[in-house]
Amino acid sequence: MAFLSDDIRERIQAYIPRYPSKQAVTLPALHIVHDELRCVPNEAIREIADLLDLAPAEVHDTMSFYQFFREPEHTLGQTRLWVCRTLACALRGADDLLEHCSKKLGVPVGGTTSDGKITLEFAECIGACEGAPAVLVNDEHVMNVTHERADALIGELKSR
């Protein structure tokens, strides 16, 4: 029995014709798996390697470079909440915001709430600097995040 579902395997394979080399599907494949499983387990690395005619070490090498993909010990919660800490946001209170979110959620930066709902992260400039301090909810921007807005956002994400 394969570890990855047929659906995931098909979605990965659908990327292959787009590129002259199968290795180029590594990042799309990692994203597909990571989005769904909230981490990339070793079994998945092996099967991605198999699908792309690579050695598992090659997939792992690429994956570990990005620090974006989580291993099973650090599985992501349902929503990944990134607080930007780079200059434009830092000048407008990002450090306080990150600390506020950390306290509110009761987790250190990088941690996941015990109900598995939210993982808190810091990010480097997320390209929403006109709305500093800004956060990213998975891959969507929320701008001008006051502490009150952060509380409301966290409430909403908890009820999702």
Binding site: L52, P108, C129, D139
Partner: protein
């Protein structure tokens, strides 16, 4: 005289992201005309003669880069669109993609026709999820309407455009880091030469262009070179190597201003005008102290520093390709302008910048990997009130020694890591010295950050 934006002209229209809206504003007519009536080389020549220089940070002449491709190459040629946009305080590509995706797609079509490329890879940073979905929908519309795919409008021209998402790494914006990442490897920049135009993605000749550059291509082909050259700054006659700074430019304003926003203006607006007029002035009734002219990699200016033999200060320099260099900055970069007010500790600014580069160095070259790490450690110590007298000289020394300019590293990230450090310390030395002497702590939040970062 009021200036009419072109690149941003459509952003607030209700249908700005849809094909009907774009068509309604005359979109794709330029591409269709070029496809029918122009030879690829004519498109290359027009872009070359327009004086368009790349908007991604390096400012390399766009059409000239296209001519570096091997002539009559039998195999595939690729275009990589650089939408990694990760230079801090830069966000104009995001607006262009979210609000007017067809403008950049038309630029891609024109560029691909010009360079005879049948497959374009659009590398977009992961954080731009909204832009990714808007672009995918726009690309789908193009396929459904015969603007992409095989034998486009019966002309025999084929073109596929594929979006490729990044995974949160600044270095994927460096063009060869981007190519390695696209190929499914670590985003380790390559040693150049060979440049991508000779050997790039999948070992084939490749052109890498920024999103704003390609939007300019659309408008140049539509409006002509006279239009493009009616804006901006002509080449400096005393500098035979200057290619001029023509055209409109998107400036992003951020930091301590009342109205942070992206504005389109003719290249060459002064920093003072940009901040005071377009950014609504410095917030809370305060004054500016330092401004960063083009993304943090370019370094900082001291707004109060007089320029020799004039009444002007560094705040008055024009934001064209040459202006920032005249006051010790690395260049125009991404034209992202960040303002720091007079109540802010420069140690905090320095620390924040060092934190970014220490996090983003890809680790291949020792001076960059170790240098960015040590610069962060030293500035962290300074923030805690434990700075030492020799620290400032050590920082400048480290910053001066890493980069492709001194010739010690593979890519420009490390030049960009060094420049803010040396410009901040050189320009605000007395503030740093005073802080070290007094042992003052600046605000320190030491949140425990999980080790996986």
């Amino acid at each position: 005289m009021s200036f009419e934006p072109t690149l941003l002209a459509r952003v607030n229209k209700p249908d700005s992201h849809r094909l009907v809206g774009y068509r309604g504003d005359g979109g794709y007519a330029t591409f269709e005309t070029a496809l029918r009536d122009k030879k690829p080389v004519e498109v290359v020549n027009q872009v070359k003669d327009s004086g368009l220089r790349g908007r991604g940070g390096a400012g390399f002449p766009c059409g000239l880069k296209w001519t570096f491709l091997p002539k009559d190459h039998p195999g595939p040629i690729y275009l990589c669109i650089n939408a990694d946009e990760s230079e801090p305080c830069t966000y104009n590509n995001r607006i262009l993609m979210e609000k007017d995706p067809h403008q950049v797609l038309e630029g891609i079509m024109l560029a691909c026709y010009a360079i005879k490329c049948e497959r374009a890879y659009f590398y977009i940073r992961y954080e731009y999820g909204t832009a990714y979905r808007v672009l995918q929908a726009a690309i789908d519309e193009c396929y459904a309407n015969g603007l992409l795919g095989k034998n486009i409008q019966g002309t025999g021209f084929n073109l596929d455009v594929y979006l490729h998402r990044g995974a949160g790494a600044y270095i994927c914006g460096e063009e060869t880091g981007l190519i390695e990442s696209l190929e499914g490897k670590r985003a380790w920049p390559r040693i150049k030469p060979p440049f991508p135009a000779i050997e790039g993605a999948f070992r084939k000749p490749t052109i890498v262009n920024n999103v704003e550059t390609l939007c300019c291509v659309t408008q140049i082909m539509r409006r002509g070179n006279d239009w493009f050259k009616s804006m901006g700054v002509p080449p400096d006659p005393k500098n035979p190597r200057d290619a001029g700074s023509y055209g409109p430019k998107l400036y992003t304003i951020a930091g301590h201003v009342n109205e942070p926003k992206c504005v389109e203006l003719p290249m060459g607006v002064s920093m003072r005008e940009l901040v005071e007029k377009h950014g609504g002035g410095v917030w809370k009734g305060r004054k500016a102290k330092a401004v960063n002219p083009g993304g943090i990699s370019m370094g900082f200016v001291d707004v109060n520093a007089k320029i020799k033999d004039s009444n002007l200060t560094e705040y008055d320099i024009p934001l064209d390709f040459n202006g920032p260099g005249r006051v010790g900055c690395l260049g125009l970069g991404t034209a992202a302008v960040t303002v720091v007010d007079d109540q802010t500790s420069m140690i905090d600014v320095l620390h924040n910048v060092c934190q970014f580069f220490a996090h983003e160095s890809c680790g291949q070259c020792t001076p960059c990997r170790e240098g960015t790490g040590w610069m962060l450690k030293i500035t962290d110590r300074m923030r805690k009130g434990q700075g030492r007298r020799e620290d400032l000289d050590i920082l400048i020394d480290v910053a001066d020694r890493m980069g492709i300019i001194p010739g010690t590293t593979i890519c420009g990230l490390s030049d960009g890591a060094g420049w803010p450090v040396k410009t901040l310390i050189r320009k605000f030395r007395s503030e740093f010295e005073e802080a070290i002497k007094s042992g003052r702590r600046s605000v320190v939040k030491s949140l425990p950050l999980v080790g996986i970062h």
